[in-house]
């Protein structure tokens, strides 16, 4: 039987069930970036561009970040935790809004890990909060991890001894 080495995250922490992924944070979502996202998405919805339009709809007093931008924070968190991984599937639910100026934090936890000789697969629970509000987005991501480098293997050891 071939020993399979446990992969590690970018911060050197071994990938084990229950391990927390390094959080991704932005100190403040910038309204000027929402204008860029309106271009990326070809979406001229004024609630992303004009606080008056948000007020007129009774949705608050600040411009509202695009949902895909919020999703991108989660994905970037995963990319930073697993730089050489390939995202295989992602399932998310959207439960809240992010406003201009909000601080956002994307977090994740390892739910399952399957180790293979050539590659390993990790399943993570992920979520995004904004200004302390939980449940902006939550879901599950499956990533295929590349074969660990020798240096990573040495730093993490082998869970199979």
């Amino acid at each position: 039987m071939t020993a399979v080495d446990v992969p590690v995250m970018a911060n050197g922490v071994p990938v084990t069930v229950g391990a927390s992924l390094p959080p991704y944070t932005l100190a403040a979502v910038r309204p000027e970036n929402m204008k860029l996202w309106a271009g990326f998405l070809r979406d001229p919805n004024p609630i992303h561009l004009d606080a008056q339009a948000v007020r007129a709809k009774g949705l608050g007093n600040k411009v509202i970040n695009q949902g895909p931008a919020n999703l991108a924070y989660l994905i970037t968190m995963l990319q930073r935790a697993f730089p050489r991984a390939v995202l295989e599937t992602l399932e998310v639910r959207y439960g809240g809004m992010v406003y201009g100026g909000d601080a956002v934090e994307a977090t994740g936890t390892v739910r399952e890990l399957s180790l293979g000789v050539c590659a390993s697969r990790v399943i993570c629970d992920v979520s995004l909060r904004a200004d302390g509000r939980d449940g902006v987005i939550w879901g599950v991501a499956v990533l295929s991890l590349g074969h660990p480098t020798a240096a990573e293997t040495r730093s993490a050891g082998s869970i199979l001894g």
């Binding site: 860029l36 931008a69 994905i75 599937t89 399932e91 998310v92 959207y94």
Partner: protein, 150 residues
């Protein structure tokens, strides 16, 4: 009016959302997108994976406003995205042309504590290389509040 007495939603299941032109993830745009995330673009030319959403939405055969319109819903009434699922067959690359195919899966009407009545719109979109090689499949669910039916 009970749920069974509500007027039915438009019969749109099966309606094609396939695009008619090729969508290309511009390397410059990918760089700009990554800058909004305070992230560095990948050196290997791969695009940020969030382009699964952008490429399919932009490349499908109608705008979100038009999609709402075929569901007899005014986009100004505030459609809300509820969930997204994506399965990748291969990474997205910049400067690569993609074709989008897809269709509406369902439009169902139900009572809602928050909105009185709402329709749940589910559609699936697929991204492929120009030779047909599959790249990803994604499905989105949107909630369309029908306050006037409450």
């Amino acid at each position: 009016m009970s749920a069974s007495e509500l007027p039915p939603p438009p019969a749109v299941a099966g309606l094609s959302l396939s695009g008619t032109s090729t969508y290309v993830i511009s390397a410059d745009e990918n760089r700009a997108l990554c800058s909004t995330l305070e992230a560095t673009p990948a050196a290997d030319g791969s695009a940020h994976p969030v382009y699964f959403f952008i490429a399919t939405q932009v490349g499908m055969g109608m705008t979100v406003a038009e999609l709402c319109r075929v569901c007899d819903f005014d986009v100004e009434d505030g459609p809300m995205i509820a969930s997204s699922t994506v399965t990748f067959s291969r990474p997205l690359m910049t400067q690569q042309g993609y074709r989008v195919t897809g269709e509406i899966v369902s439009l169902t009407r139900k009572r809602s504590r928050t909105f009185g009545v709402m329709d749940s719109l589910t559609y699936v979109l697929r991204l492929a290389l120009s030779d047909g090689t599959p790249v990803l499949e994604t499905s989105n669910v949107w909630m369309l509040p029908r306050r006037h039916l409450a």
